[in-house]
Every structure is written in C-alpha cells, then in structure tokens.
C-alpha cells in the first residue's frame, strides 16, 4: 500500500532523510515509527502526506506515485500532533467542513458518542480544553474508513480514559484491516499496540521488524532496552567507521 524508495530530504544544510527505503504492504498491521528527536519521523510522515516535498526518491500509495497528486489523500486519514482549530467555528461546523472536503461517508456519530462530545457540538473551538480538542482531533481522524491511518503522537494530552478509548479504537481499526502508522515516544504504548517497529536513525531505516525480532536481535528484555542498545551500537559504529557505511 505504501512503498518508499530512496527518499532524500534536506532542509538547508541539514539532511533529514538520507535514503529511506520502506515497504508497508500488509493491511491489518500497526507499524510504529520510532527514533530519537530529529531522526526524521515527522518528516517521513509529512512526505507521505504530501506536506513536505522530497528532494529525491519515490513514494507510492496503492502503486501510484504521489508526486504532484492530491487525490490519493482520500486513502489516508491523518491525526496531527497538535490540535489547533479555527477559533470561531463550532465543533459541528468543523466536522461538517472535513466532511465537505472528503468523499465517502463519515461515521462521526459513533465517535461523538464514544468521546462524549455531544454537549460540545455547538461550542466554539476556542472555548474547549486541550483534552477535548484532542478528542475532536481524534474524531476527525477516525471518522472515515480509509485504508491507511497515520497517527502522529496520538497519545499527547489525553486523560487515561480517553487513552483507553484510543487504544480500543486503534485495535478496532486494525481488525477492519487498515494499515496503521504511529509515531510515539511512549514505549509501553508501542509494546502493547505495535505489530511492527520501524526504527529511524539519522534519516535511515535502522531496524524494521516485529517486536520479537527486535528483542531477539538485541538480546533485550524490553523495547526500551533494545532501542537504547541500537543507539549505543550505532554511536560506536559511527566512531569506528565512516558514518555513511550501512552496517546498522
């Protein structure tokens, strides 16, 4: 469903993505994109969404190159990291706006029930608390039945109850056979939810595989430990060898 070949991107002198090759083709799987700050997680996601235009390389969604296209985005649902909406619209109007823009049928009602947003539908967005805004954000991202779901730090600002609801939602979407991409910093969330880990380091894919494979490869007890070891090893390699050798 998503194929990325030799993706390069630099912002000025800083190269963020340095030849990413990635295939995410199994529906019904949750892939967690991990990596230290500045490793290119958000840039990679923004490239897939067409918000960042890569310098080199190819991204295909459903076998079609996305270069200069916008129609393919009806295949993608996206949850942005920061929820900020126009101040003077009401929640209902915001939901209507997104429904106006997207083809297909939305199931907003079910999500509004789930998050208890009924009382807020006519409130203006600038009167909502951060957590409620995040719930609106989740509603917007989950109300379509698109085959690919991209979540950028979905856990930020949620109370424990909403967090639990989010877990249920994500698992439910997986059951429906969606391809789900998540970036997060919370390792327990990864251990619990992810079927596959993509670990980015210095703009390259450093590890891709299941949690079991990662634990086995690094002889570690937890994902956190394994990731720490990956980082230590890569630093040692960098010191020992030329930085551009692909040993990691």
């Amino acid at each position: 469903m998503i194929t990325i070949r030799q993706l390069y991107k630099s912002f000025g002198p800083k190269s963020v993505l340095q030849g990413i090759d990635l295939e995410l083709n199994t529906p019904g799987r949750i892939s967690a994109i991990l990596g230290p700050n500045g490793s290119g997680k958000t840039t990679l996601i923004k490239c897939i969404l067409g918000m960042v235009i890569p310098d080199q390389g190819e991204i295909e969604v459903d076998g079609q190159s996305i270069k200069g296209k916008w129609e393919y985005r009806s295949q993608l649902d996206y949850l942005p990291q920061i929820a900020r909406f126009p101040d003077n619209l009401t929640v209902q109007e915001l939901i209507d706006l997104i429904q106006d823009l997207r083809p297909g049928r939305a199931q907003a009602e079910e999500l509004i029930d789930r998050f208890g947003l009924h009382d807020y539908l006519d409130s203006r967005l600038n009167h909502l608390s951060g957590g409620t805004k995040q719930k609106v954000n989740l509603t917007l991202a989950f109300m379509y039945d698109s085959p690919i779901l991209i979540l950028d730090e979905p856990t930020s600002g949620l109370d424990p109850l909403a967090m639990q609801q989010l877990r249920e939602l994500i698992l439910q979407e997986r059951e429906r056979g969606k391809l789900i991409l998540i970036t997060t910093h919370i390792m327990s969330f990864v251990e619990e939810m992810a079927d596959e880990i993509v670990f980015l380091l210095d703009g390259q894919v450093c590890f891709k595989g299941s949690i079991e494979e990662l634990l086995e490869q690094e002889a570690a007890e937890s994902v956190e430990e394994a990731i720490a070891q990956l980082l230590v090893v890569s630093e040692a390699l960098e010191q020992a060898l030329e930085p551009d050798q692909q040993n990691a």
């Binding site: 067409g50 920061i82 126009p86 706006l97």
Partner: protein, 260 residues
C-alpha cells in the same frame, strides 16, 4: 476553494477583530457625518483614514491569520484537495471579511444619514472600491510574507516594515528625490513612481475624483492631464490590478513548492 472560503468566512465573520474593525468605521464615519454634514469633506477625511488603516489592518490581520491557522492548515493539507485551493480560499476569506467590515462600516452611516449627494456619489463609490482593492492587495502581500517566513517574529517584522514602507517611507524618499533634483522637470518621474506604490496611486485617483487636485500644484496638473484621460485611468486601474495579481500569484507559486 469555495468550501475553504466558506468556512474561513464563517470563522472570521464571528471574530471579534472583524467586529472591532467594523465598529471603528461605523463610529468614525457616523461621527464625521454628524459633525460636518458636508459629504465631500467627510469623504476626504475618510480617504485619509482608509489609505493608512486599510493597508495596515489588512497586512497585520493577514499575517496573524496565517500564523494562527498554521496547524489547521496542516490538517487541511492532509485532506484530498489541491494546495492552491486551501491558500486561495483562506486569502479570499480574509480579504472578503475585511472588505465586508469596511463596506458596511462606512456604507451604513451614509445610507442612514442619506447624505450622499449626486455629485459626490461617484467619489464615494470610488472611495469604497479603493478601500476594498487596498484590502485585497495588502492581505495578498501578508499571505506572501507569512508563507515566506516560518518565523513569526520575522514575519510580523516584515509586515510592519512593508506597511511602513508604502505608507510613510516611500513618500519620504520621493520627496527627498524631488528636492535634490528640483531643478529638473520631474513630473513624469513622480507620476511613474506613484504607480509603484498602491497607496499613493489610490490617493491620487481619489483626489482626482474629488477635483481637489488643484492643491497639488503643477504636478497635480500633470497628473490630471494623464490620469484624467481614459487611458490614464485604464493604466492606473491595470496597475492596481497587477498589485493584486502579482503578490497572490507569487503566493500561489510559493505554496505549491513549500514544505510544511
């Protein structure tokens, strides 16, 4: 684009800034009409305010809107619609809501007091049209600045500088130029240079409408001679049109290859 425009208008027409802007014009033009009663004089006073205020508010409001709606713009960018639709929709939303505030804020008092005499009606309509055009020009420039500079502080700085340049500095430079080369005939130069400043161009067009160009002396006569003809008016209107088109087309181009 129409959909984005619709919701941008929904949002902005409820914004308290829009009401403040509308309220200011409402109070100001009502006060002027009550105090003076002579609509030509009121139009001249309003002209001076519009020529300074419309560009200032359009620039600041446009930049502010862009920076404030950044995260929401990112959400829109992830939706299945072309980029240009988003930015044109937002731009037209900002420019239209400013124009509506201006038109209602000034139009309502004039309608209410019924003071537009036939001879000043044309000048009045010209004044309103000019305010609208200036709003479109300067909100276009504001969008261009906000897209060009990711840093808010720098963007606001550039916006203020831009306004200051066209509203104040440009005239100063022109005066210095005229002063140093006062021994040469400079009428054509000053005529040409005023085309490069939309605020000056609007002022001249309005003054010519009001038949007060005599106060501008000999240069005024040159302006009258050129801009009083239909060719001159056409050139002036085309130039104002270019002032709307060039920034918005640049915005369009920038938006297409920008990384968010």
């Amino acid at each position: 684009m129409i959909k984005i425009l619709k919701y941008t208008l929904f949002d902005l027409l409820r914004s308290r800034w829009t009401y403040l802007y509308f309220g200011f014009f409402l109070v100001f033009s009502s006060a002027l009409l009550l105090l003076s009663g002579d609509s030509t004089k009121v139009i001249v006073s309003l002209m001076n305010v519009i020529l300074i205020l419309c560009p200032l508010i359009a620039t600041m409001f446009g930049v502010m809107y862009c920076y404030n709606s950044r995260e929401f713009t990112e959400l829109l960018l992830a939706q299945p619609l072309p980029r240009r639709a988003i930015f044109w929709g937002q731009y037209l939303g900002v420019a239209l809501s400013l124009s509506v505030s201006l038109l209602l804020g000034i139009g309502l008092p004039f309608l209410f007091f019924g003071l537009v005499q036939a001879d000043s009606l044309l000048a009045f309509l010209f004044l309103l049209a000019n305010g609208v055009v200036l709003s479109f020009i300067f909100s276009g420039l504001a969008f261009l600045i906000a897209l060009r500079f990711d840093n808010k502080i720098r963007g606001f700085g550039m916006a203020i500088l831009l306004w200051l340049f066209f509203a104040v500095i440009y005239d100063g430079l022109l005066l210095i130029l005229l002063f140093f080369f006062r021994d040469y005939p400079l009428e054509n130069l000053s005529l040409g240079m005023s085309l490069f400043n939309p605020i000056d161009l609007s002022r001249i067009l309005l003054l010519l409408q009001l038949d007060t160009s005599a106060i501008m002396g000999y240069t005024g006569a040159v302006f009258q001679k050129f801009l009083g003809t239909s060719l001159g008016i056409l050139v002036a209107l085309l130039t104002l049109g270019l002032w709307v088109l060039v920034p918005t087309m640049s915005m369009d181009r920038l938006a297409r290859r920008k990384d968010f």
